[in-house]
Point group: C2
Chain length 456, copies 2
């Protein structure tokens, strides 16, 4: 990975006098310390030194990259075996390697005013960091914010290795989705679908990059319980990403008919979402403001819902003015994708929002996670969705709006839709964009044909 060296060099240039310390993090207890969750190094650490740890640290100091690793104890030897050899790690990462015990000495020699530390989102990992550097790392601290800014300015734009890692993650994600679709004709429950995907991802040495959303209640945007049987009249919404062993992940959503055939109401909504996806996708290119895509989707949904007779009693301008479509599209059009499903969300909106920009407070719009001008190398999702959430129409803050503009009788005819989302991953190229997740049936016709062929 030549990229590690190039990343260190670019980072060093951006940091100037500042040194930067990045923690891989500590094991996190599931039941008790000896039974942790599967360890994953922090994404910032992976970006600079690959998947290793726990207890590993990356330090960039005076334009040199250092990696500190815990030494193998007798207990490690018995319980986990000898650690990796250091020579190949040094070759691979371009770092100078040191035993962890020497980190304190290194830190003592750095002027504290020049030491930036990336905060770790896990409190204990951050506390161990705090004990090392004598203060709590925090984005409120100017040094740490400058350090994070320098790092995110790199991570925003996928270099060649990042692109290749993301492509592998997207390929595995597609493979898992196809396994789900292959399993669909014989599946009895949401868990059966999860099992088919878990198998493919585990076999490849990967893991789910976020808790899988596999649900016949697509109107619950992040419904992660897998309790439902697959009823024939339902749509199954599958929002699943695979993370490869090296830590990069994809993020794809499909919405398939359990029976193999979309009902006419399901097809109407599916096609509207797909049409919005395609129109939004067509705009992806350097120079475009990502937030404009959200506005565009919102407007297209407004027009589409009006055409379907779901909105009534006003004009399209009025619906837009009143933000009515957000009742059906209450999330953002997409987000950054990289080592994290919502890339760099551990830094709050520092990565997702260009300097000086803030979240739009309006319902729905406030969930938009990305408001930057697109540029070559950025990787983003596009994921329009429509959801029918009756509780929302009855909620005190929306009741009046819903009463005024929603046609409840017409809505009844869409009661078998629940939720539809279509999500794909795109790399911004010099001339436009590239779909990282091809080879996935996407139209109503493609999906129905694919399922029919597997029903046998």
């Amino acid at each position: 990975m030549a990229s590690f060296r190039a990343r260190h060099a670019s980072l060093a240039q951006a940091l100037g006098n500042l040194s930067l310390l990045v923690s891989a993090g500590q094991l996190q207890s599931r039941n008790y310390a000896g039974n942790p969750y599967p360890f994953r190094a922090s994404s910032h650490f992976i970006y600079l030194a690959g998947q290793r740890g726990p207890g590993a640290y990356f330090l960039l100091h005076q334009h040199h990259a250092h990696l500190f690793l815990p030494e193998t104890t007798m207990d490690d030897l018995i319980w986990s075996g000898p650690g990796e050899e250091w020579g190949p790690i040094a070759d691979l990462t371009g770092c100078q390697l040191h035993p962890l015990a020497q980190l304190a000495t290194f830190i003592a020699e750095i002027d504290p005013q020049n030491l930036a530390v990336i905060p770790h989102p896990d409190l204990r990992s951050n506390q161990v960091l705090a004990e090392l550097v004598g203060r709590y790392p925090s984005l409120e601290d100017e040094r740490d914010r400058l350090g994070a800014q320098a790092l995110l300015n790199l991570r925003l734009y996928a270099d060649a290795d990042a692109q290749s890692e993301l492509q592998m993650a997207c390929d595995l994600t597609v493979e898992a989705h196809l396994a789900a679709l292959n399993a669909l004709p014989r599946a009895q429950s949401e868990s059966d679908i999860a099992a088919a995907m878990a198998r493919v991802i585990t076999q490849a040495g990967g893991t789910f990059s976020f808790i899988p959303i596999i649900t016949t209640c697509g109107e619950r945007l992040h419904q992660v319980r897998l309790g439902n049987l697959l009823q024939a009249d339902r749509l199954l919404l599958v929002d699943v990403g695979a993370e490869t062993a090296s830590g990069w992940g994809g993020d794809v959503t499909n919405t398939w008919p359990v029976s193999g055939r979309y009902s006419s109401s399901q097809a109407l909504i599916y096609n509207l979402v797909l049409d919005v996806h395609r129109q939004v996708r067509a705009e992806l290119r350097p120079g475009l403001e990502y937030k404009a895509l959200h506005s565009m989707a919102h407007k297209l949904f407004t027009e589409g819902l009006a055409q379907l007779g779901i909105l009534r009693g006003g004009t399209v301008e009025e619906y837009l003015e009143q933000n009515v479509a957000s009742l059906f599209f209450p999330h953002g059009i997409g987000h950054l994708l990289g080592l994290d499903p919502h890339d760099m969300e551990d830094l709050g909106d520092l990565a997702g929002y260009a300097p000086g920009r803030r979240r739009d407070p309006r319902f729905g719009w406030s969930s938009l996670r990305l408001d930057r001008q697109l540029d070559e190398g950025m990787v983003v999702t596009v994921e329009p969705g429509l959801y029918f959430i009756p509780e929302l129409w009855e909620a005190p803050q929306f009741k009046e709006l819903a009463h005024k503009y929603l046609d409840r009788e017409r809505l009844q005819e869409f009661s078998d839709v629940h939720g539809v989302r279509i999500e794909r991953d795109y790399l911004i190229t010099p001339v436009g964009h590239e779909l990282l997740t091809p080879d996935m049936p996407t139209t109503v016709e493609e999906i129905e044909k694919y399922i029919a062929e597997r029903k046998g």
Copy 2:
């Protein structure tokens, strides 16, 4: 679950004036707060109120059981759907239900000297608890220790519902192991085996109860990397537990030959481990000191290794005196099993060790996690194992011992063994014990026959 009420009543009696607060815990960040690890409530909480949360609390106060649950916000509604209805939860758990917002008022009315809190092993979850009660919960605090003691005295002995939950967990664990064994003839890698098990467990709505150990390097006791291809001359050690949706888990280890046939050296060691397992198992009954089983296994291994000519240059008495067999059997003979793989290890040795007892400092013996007299209702594992760890024989503290008593030439003949462990789960009954994990091929003959039948 009638047991919840009975548990509350027994706990109330044991606590006397003391009130007890138990946290389910908070979501733990994997990459960032919005991308958490799959949530699992703390085992103490599950024992008293079932799998719910995050952010839920159980309070036993003046002989009444209270359950505090976060109220569904508009965001929850959109992202996760409406929460469970409270009526059925109250019926099921025997608790009075309250919105979480009322917990602070309840706590304010309890004399702080009478409030025991179970510490949560996750630092942030424990910090949220600390903010609630105005101090850090800790087993160093006498109140908290008394509360933990009262609770563990219940959890040590499985009641009817606990037994039934554990039986389901053990059944699923066995099912996963059989899926692995079915997959073995066609598997190419450790990951293939993991995938077969993940599929079965996921399909049942469960999860791995600890990070799976599936390795052709069985001499690394808790080797969790899944990087190896399955070479025909190797043994595959599979130490995997399945946790059901309700939070209870099994814990089983099998050691199978990749080729379908044990080599003569592998069979010799496998049979020695199996013989020790059987002799230890035969002793399981109320009144027995569990540590005596470790001594027994250690003695049997010593005799067996001497008979095999692996130990030489001394008498069995001398090997025992010098603790030589621990070089091949460096872990404990087993542990408590329940909601946790090592049940209640979050309480340190408070549960595993009877009052006044401490770990034996000798190598190997210090890893024994249970030193109590067995009694009806206890659930324990038995897991003798033998490992060939050349690095251990060269380690400074063991070099002399190894040189004196190990026959290196003879050891060469066992170089294809690496590690063998055979682990099963047992319930202590009034008259002896019951195997919770039957229906698993266990002898060399049974295993070879099982694999041969699946090779087709």
